[in-house]
């Protein structure tokens, strides 16, 4: 439920019309992924272990505010994370064909469903949490360990997830784990201390 704002009555004077060119359905994404993941160039970039992050229609380049092609967006960008190469991979699709594929060095894309799912799986199996988190719901957020003065934080430069377990979607974590998806391992885990 969204936070309540003053007044909730929908005003009939709001005129809405769909921009159909911006729609990307789950079926569209599945089709595009199948084509991308079957492409040899993409397979080479992804390596043996990877996760799908997200898909977006590329917005129009520049500020075309008139003419026939304002809303004609040809390309769809698929973003993956290659755990085995520890790098994000961008695939640009034109219709159902791979237009380009490239590594995005240094870019940390948002957490994808596989990032979260794998993070939760590894955390649940960790001896420090095993048997404690089963009735709880797992959540995951991408975090970024720091480069240290004497030594780097554990997981520095890797795809690291902060995994928490809480009652449903209470936003109140009871257990946590730091999961390194690049190494496919749990770096640390424990019980969440009381609120300070």
């Amino acid at each position: 439920m969204k936070p309540k704002m003053a007044g909730t009555a929908l005003d009939a004077s709001v005129r809405r019309s769909q921009n159909s060119s911006a729609i990307l359905t789950a079926d569209d994404i599945a089709t595009l992924r199948k084509a991308a993941e079957g492409d040899a160039r993409v397979a080479t970039l992804l390596g043996s272990r990877w996760g799908f992050i997200d898909a977006n229609r590329l917005p129009p380049v520049g500020k075309v505010s008139f003419g026939c092609c304002r809303n004609t967006v040809q390309l769809v960008r698929l973003v993956y994370y290659s755990y085995s190469s520890n790098v994000a991979v961008e695939v640009r699709m034109k219709e159902a064909s791979v237009f380009s594929a490239a590594r995005l060095e240094g870019y940390l894309p948002p957490e994808g469903p596989q990032d979260v799912q794998r993070g939760i799986e590894l955390a649940k199996a960790d001896p420090r949490l095993a048997g404690k988190v089963q009735p709880l719901e797992g959540h995951g957020l991408l975090m970024q360990p720091d480069r240290g003065f004497f030594r780097n934080d554990p997981g520095y430069g890797h795809r690291i997830m902060w995994i928490t377990f809480s009652q449903g979607q209470s936003g109140d974590p009871k257990y946590w784990a730091v999961v390194d998806l690049t190494e496919d391992t749990v770096l640390d885990a424990g019980e969440e201390p009381p609120r300070s």
Partner: protein, 326 residues
């Protein structure tokens, strides 16, 4: 007769199934009062507005929120000297995080017709407001990101947040990106005003930015900013947020997010998903480009403190005010 009825039903069914699901659209055009704009959710920049016009004149090419950087404090244990210094001071007990809202993070809003993008109008103090909002769920966070437009020319971007990634105090730093295009001709100017400031030719207290730079709020001088079109003088005032209860303002910058506003010359290559990680400050100013009579991007950063003791259920809100001046 039976055949005609069946044919009619088949045609009707095919027409209905050809209409895309209204609730699933990721972009719409909206006309409301004197406002006209598109909204969209794509490219990891939350709920964004495009081609925003007010009273038939272009104001913004795009307004978006590419990231909320989140910094938790470090636990310092008095008996453990290893916790007194070192890299964890820059890290906190968990995080830092870079929250980016995408379509896949949005949930149906149960108190807004189960739509993923809420569009509602309301009246407050005799002024009509239009609200567009999305409810994102990422990690433990519940984030409601919204745009509020008033019939008399105010635009308020707001972020509301609840939930804890770990039980420690932390600060959310939402970054709003306003790609101004006032009157649509790329001749924008950016000014800053301080009460009691000298007159450098633009009126008492007004100064004009000449090059890309970051700047800070000064509450003592009620610092505000003004972006205007050089040709017709129409513009937009940018006012630091005065706070949504229980907060009294939109927070204080810190080492993690060390500025409140940033003025940049617009560049297509910089209209991309947040590229600086959870730890990186906004850049795009390495070449210190001139910003006089140019196509301008104005970034506003607010700083939303969340005390862990408040728990995970209390919504906290932050955001500046933009006011059209003609």
């Amino acid at each position: 007769m039976k055949r005609v009825v069946w044919s009619g039903l088949i045609v009707l069914f095919s027409l209905i199934s050809a209409v895309p699901s209204f609730a699933e659209t990721q972009s719409e055009h909206i006309n409301w009062g004197r406002w006209s704009f598109d909204w969209e959710v794509r490219d990891n920049t939350g709920l964004a507005l495009r081609d925003v016009t007010y009273a038939d004149e272009l104001v913004l090419a795009k307004a978006s929120m590419p990231v909320i950087r989140v910094k938790y404090v470090k636990d310092m244990v008095w008996w453990n000297p290893f916790t007194w210094f070192g890299s964890r001071a820059e890290s906190g007990r968990c995080g830092p995080f870079q929250d980016r809202l995408r379509w896949q993070d949005l949930v149906p809003i149960v108190n807004c017709g189960n739509q993923k993008v809420c569009v509602e109008s309301a009246t407050q103090n005799n002024v009509k407001w239009l609200e567009l909002g999305v409810y994102g769920r990422i990690g433990e966070y519940h984030i409601y990101q919204s745009w509020h437009l008033s019939e008399d020319g105010e635009l308020r971007p707001v972020v509301q947040s609840r939930g804890l990634s770990c039980n420690t105090n932390h600060v959310h730093h939402p970054y709003w990106r306003f790609d101004f295009d006032i009157n649509g001709n790329g001749m924008d100017q950016v000014f800053v005003h301080d009460d009691g400031g000298p007159d450098s030719g633009w009126g008492p207290g007004w100064r004009k930015y000449t090059n890309e730079r970051n700047d800070v709020k000064i509450s003592e001088t009620h610092r505000t900013w003004f972006v205007r079109d050089q040709l017709n003088g129409h513009g937009v005032l940018i006012l630091p947020g005065t706070g949504y209860a229980p907060l009294i303002d939109d927070g204080e910058r810190d080492r993690f997010a060390d500025h409140d506003v940033a003025i940049r010359r617009a560049n297509v290559s910089e209209d991309v998903p947040w590229s600086f990680g959870a730890r990186g400050q906004l850049r795009y100013d390495e070449d210190n480009q001139g910003v006089q009579e140019q196509d301008i991007v104005f970034w506003y950063v607010s700083h939303l403190p969340h005390m862990a003791a408040m728990g995970p259920t209390k919504w906290l809100a932050t955001g500046p005010t933009l006011r059209i001046q003609r």
